[in-house]
């Protein structure tokens, strides 16, 4: 029997590189990803996969991204602290004008429509536009307009798009969710102000002690916490068939990292979840689950 699953790939900046390892190990263990939905970095990885890139190929892409060159600003864009210039240019080279109709498997990217506070599931039109909207971390990256909707990062409302994944999936396909955020009640390490390594440590320390910086720090810390709360609650309400958590919660969203090390964490998470994954296809338990419903 073919082991088909549908994936919901969560957001979380560089933590999302672990999705590559998740995809690879799933393939190696004979699982077929039949459809996938992603938010933010999860949308980026998911889009490449849906375009037909192998996990090895995606890994190569990410290892070659020069993080310092991704964040330039473009004139005429919505205001933000950093921009997506480098990334947008790189994506243009890789994806070009391709649209959702060019994908090999069903895929959706989610974004947040700020004005209405609504999750928007992007499934048609330009792939690049959808990805840039899904990754537009508010204030840091520019808000994007699609069909008149001002869109920011899908992770603001829903860090792991289980509902979108379910909408795409064929009936009876188990939904596997890959959240990247730490559970609630665990001290946050994320988003405490991390400054560039090029600033000398003494100056760094000085800046960190500035009152406004500390106020901003509190602000980002709470944003992280709400993100974790929303992840926890969404998973509780949307009930995916399985949750796999790569151990990446300690990483910072925009931190500079070794891609290969993080990919390995994704692989390990699948490895650890293998018994539960196989159980999804054990005919007896599957029949039992249906009987319970």
């Amino acid at each position: 029997m073919e082991k088909r699953i549908a994936l919901a790939l969560g957001g979380g900046g560089v933590k999302g590189i672990s999705h590559i390892g998740v995809l690879r190990r799933l393939e190696q263990n004979g699982f077929t990803v039949q459809s996938l939905a992603g938010t933010s970095i999860g949308a980026l990885v998911g889009a490449f996969y849906a375009l037909g890139y192998t996990p090895d190929h995606i890994e190569e892409l990410f290892a070659n991204f020069r993080q310092s060159q991704l964040y330039g600003k473009v004139k005429g864009e919505e205001p933000s602290l950093l921009g997506f210039n480098g990334l947008a240019r790189r994506l243009k080279e890789l994806i070009g004008e391709r649209a959702f109709t060019d994908l090999k498997i069903p895929f959706a990217a989610t974004a947040t429509w700020v004005e209405y506070g609504r999750e928007v599931c992007l499934r048609e039109g330009s792939l690049i536009e959808a990805l840039l909207a899904s990754m537009a971390l508010p204030g840091i990256f520019p808000m994007r307009f699609i069909n008149g909707m001002g869109l920011v990062d899908g992770g603001m409302l829903n860090p792991v798009p289980v509902n979108a994944a379910r909408a795409l999936a064929a009936p009876d396909t188990p939904i596997v969710a890959i959240p990247l955020t730490a559970p609630l009640g665990v001290p946050a390490t994320m988003e405490r102000i991390v400054l560039s390594r090029f600033i000398p440590r003494w100056l760094n320390e000085r800046i960190k002690r500035m009152r406004l910086v500390r106020a901003a720090d509190v602000f980002f810390l709470t944003q992280d916490m709400m993100n974790r709360a929303n992840t926890t609650h969404h998973l509780e309400v949307s009930k995916p068939d399985l949750i796999i958590r790569p151990a990446v919660a300690h990483l910072n969203t925009l931190q500079r990292v070794d891609a290969r090390a993080i990919i390995k964490v994704g692989e390990e998470a699948v490895e650890a979840a293998l018994p539960q994954l196989l159980k999804l296809f054990d005919t007896n338990t599957a029949a039992q689950a249906r009987a319970d419903v």
């Binding site: 947040t112 609504r118 808000m143 009640g185 602000f219 709360a229 609650h233």
Partner: protein, 292 residues
């Protein structure tokens, strides 16, 4: 008809809690316990201390809303501070503690260090109020021992679970001020902070960094609304009262009595449903559930 109340956060919108309290009392509901978050926490504390809804309305109407902001020496860092508001509240609450309340009362806050919700129900009321209203980054966080406390609305905008913990056998009525997901809201945006006179604010809002900041504030509001809706889905209060306040900014200057009226209307809208909770069938079902 004994109930427990969970009063949600929402700044100025929270004046509608006053109308909710008044209508519930008039209709014969007995509020036996009250939990509150943020502005809901202020109303909860006043009510638990024995202020009637009319007295709360008069007191809040007297507050000079332009004097809300400001910083005191020794505050934790914050963008605008809430020294004026704090001083005014202290004038009413003084050094009273949770032991002085006439009904059980709890306020919620969030600990920035451990990333978890903290329910405050002992010690000085004033200390807990300062913690529950500490809008992240905007108002100063409060250090209490090993905790660094900020607005409870971050994790629990409508404190249903704390209300239920105060009175486990009673139905919980939740009053939420957050716009439901998918509606326009004007709760948090740069202009809603009222920091600067209108013409200057208008100019400033055209600045690029101001606009970026505005997106950040609005996203925060969206996240808080998502947290609120999820919690209501998961915590299942027996009734949800939703005053129509989506047009009001969290820190807007408002007419207290007008907003309070909106709370009354919200109760009237679902009054049959609220009373139905006390039909003998529903009572029996609750008793049975508790007994099991």
């Amino acid at each position: 008809m004994d109930i427990a109340l969970a009063l949600g956060g929402g700044g100025s919108k929270g004046n509608s809690h006053i109308g909710v309290l008044r209508r519930l009392e008039q209709e014969g509901f007995k509020i036996r316990a009250v939990a509150g978050t943020s502005f809901g926490g202020i109303v909860a504390a006043f009510y638990a201390l024995g202020y009637t809804p009319d007295e709360i309305e008069d007191a809040f109407s007297d507050f000079e809303q332009t004097s809300l902001y400001g910083k005191s020496p020794g505050d934790e860092p914050s963008f605008i501070g809430v020294a004026g508001g704090a001083k005014w509240i202290e004038g009413h609450i003084r050094d009273r503690t949770f032991d002085d309340t006439q009904i059980p009362c709890a306020l919620t806050a969030v600990d920035l260090i451990s990333g978890s919700e903290v329910v405050l129900s002992e010690g000085l009321l004033m200390d807990s109020i300062l913690a529950t209203i500490a809008l992240p980054g905007l108002f100063p966080a409060q250090r209490r021992g090993e905790y660094e406390l900020t607005d409870g609305g971050v994790l629990d905008p409508v404190p249903v679970a704390p209300a239920r913990a105060l009175a486990p056998t009673l139905p919980v009525f939740a009053v939420t001020l957050n716009a439901p997901i998918g509606e326009t809201s004007h709760s948090l945006s740069l202009s809603s902070l009222n920091l600067i006179p209108e013409p200057i604010a208008e100019r400033l809002s055209r600045l690029r960094y101001a606009r970026a900041m505005d997106v950040v504030l609005r996203s925060l509001d969206v996240m808080m609304r998502a947290v609120a809706e999820y919690r209501l889905t998961i915590d299942r209060p027996e009734a949800i009262i939703r005053p129509q306040v989506t047009d009001i900014g969290t820190l807007a200057k408002v007419n207290v009595r007008e907003i309070a009226k909106r709370g009354e209307r919200a109760v009237d809208e679902i009054l049959p449903e609220l009373k139905d909770l006390f039909s003998w069938q529903k009572r029996a079902a609750r008793a049975l559930r508790l007994w099991v």
